[in-house]
């Protein structure tokens, strides 16, 4: 029974990683950059949601929508101001800029909200956990809804990129930016849209994560950001199904290591799994072979 409880919390944590990893992988796919500020968008989203419930008195769901809206705009603005001017200048300068944006967001948060940890009020406060098998299996409302939301996002996003015109345009730009322009696709718009979606999802992930682990600090987004990045690489960066599966695997491994091996070592075990996967399959689980075009 313990196994099953661990599996459920693993999938729940993994769902959060998946949602964050989607942002990493989509942005990488379309603009071939690693947006290391992505984790900090999670933190901003959580703070916005926290403020809206605590100071404005909004209900949790409305605060979530507010957080998504703010982060969507924030994602677009960051891309426009920090990354777009550097497009085509080589990946190192973009990478360094992304790290800079990350520190900028953390320090802005420090300035605005202070260093003291805030206690985040769960979005699902007051909801009873689900008890199965005579109370031996307990599914908290947080776990339950996190997994549901993750499934909805996965299905929705998959439909979006495969069925909608804007989604197909995003795939086209990801694959061949130049050819996409020849089709009449506005690459800037596609990239903005990708940042918007990724950042909006990060806000959702932040609120879900802080509902389950309610301590909110300016560095809250850093570790889940790195883990989700790991998940995206594990699944094959650039691949949407890869991010989903990578996140779920990573979350499950983390919880099982905590429960059965060692809490202290759980992070090390998670990253060791990444190393092993990359040794065996360097492109990640769902990654494509990258062949240089001549």
């Amino acid at each position: 029974m313990n196994m099953i409880n661990s599996l459920i919390s693993g999938l729940s944590l993994g769902s959060v990683y998946s949602i964050i990893a989607l942002g990493y992988t989509m942005v990488y796919g379309i603009s071939k950059m690693l947006n290391f500020a992505h984790g900090d968008i999670i933190m901003v989203g959580s703070y916005i949601s926290f403020c809206l419930t605590t100071y404005v008195g909004m209900p949790g769901w409305a605060a979530l929508i507010g957080a998504v809206a703010v982060c969507t705009v924030l994602g677009i603005v960051i891309e426009r101001l920090a990354y777009r001017p550097l497009r085509g200048t080589g990946s190192l300068s973009v990478l360094i800029t992304a790290i800079g944006v990350s520190y900028f967001l953390q320090n802005m948060a420090l300035l605005v909200w202070g260093a003291n940890p805030r206690v985040f009020k769960s979005l699902f406060k007051g909801l009873e956990p689900i008890r199965l098998a005579e109370g031996q299996i307990i599914i908290t409302a947080e776990s339950f809804f996190t997994i549901i939301v993750c499934v909805v996002i996965m299905v929705g996003l998959t439909l979006f990129v495969h069925k909608s015109k804007a989604g197909k345009a995003m795939r086209a730009v990801s694959e061949d930016n130049g050819a996409a322009q020849l089709m009449g696709i506005n690459v800037n718009q596609s990239i903005s849209l990708t940042f918007a979606i990724g950042s909006g999802l990060a806000a959702v992930a932040g609120v879900l994560m802080c509902s389950a682990y309610p301590v909110l600090m300016p560095t809250t987004g850093a570790m889940p950001g790195i883990k989700a990045f790991t998940a995206a690489v594990l699944g094959g960066i650039g691949s949407i199904p890869g991010a989903m599966v990578g996140g779920l695997i990573l979350g499950t491994i983390e919880i099982f290591s905590r429960a059965y091996i060692s809490t202290e070592l759980s992070d090390a075990i998670v990253f060791a799994c990444l190393v092993i996967v990359l040794l065996v399959k360097p492109t990640g689980l769902f990654g494509k072979k990258i062949s240089e075009k001549v």
């Binding site: 015109k165 795939r171 086209a172 694959e175 130049g178 020849l182 089709m183 009449g184 690459v187 001549v294």
Partner: protein
Amino acid sequence: MGTVLTVDNINVYYGAIHAIKGISFEVNKGEIVTLIGANGAGKSTTLHTVSGLLRSKTGDIKFLGKSIAKTPAHKIVAKGISHVPEGRRVFQEMTVRENLEMGAFITKADKVKPNVEYVYEQFPRLKERKSQIAGTLSGGEQQMLAMGRALMSNPQLLMLDEPSMGLAPILVDQIFEIIRNLNKSGTTILLVEQNANMALSIADRAYVIETGRITLSGSGEELAKSEKVRKAYLGG
């Protein structure tokens, strides 16, 4: 016969490399015009500049009398220019049908279906493979797909970059037959080729590009006979 495309004194640089050194030429309505020249002479660069993927530092490019030299690349196709890039560059992970839809990105929704039918008519092979992932097609099929994709926007000017590259001779014949048919049905064609023999055989007019400059021009026939062209590009 009106002029469709006028390229007037363009200079294009890759960083410090001066790739196009003052090229001017024009394409008239209903013509097949070809740019021939060796690898690296600047043929593809010229097409990329017309498409807006590269910019000229000088001069002007006019399409149907209006300057497009500053038009962003993604707005060129809506003006009526379709570019089939070198190496086909179909979207490898999309199906044949999705590739055609991408070609119709700016086409009005009610014209997409008839255009798909038209492309399938021109390239029956694509119809057979419509649900197949483009990356699994053969080279010839990918070339057909790239051309079909470019036709989806009802272009007035079709620019083809090395359509014969890497294809078996029989396929090259097929592709050129299709180009001639497209031209007969009213599409003006600007063709870039290393296969000068083939290109000159169907071209109304031709320009020879050498290291970023046009060194020779004339009708396809004239150039095919020219001593210089025969020596340099037609193997004696």
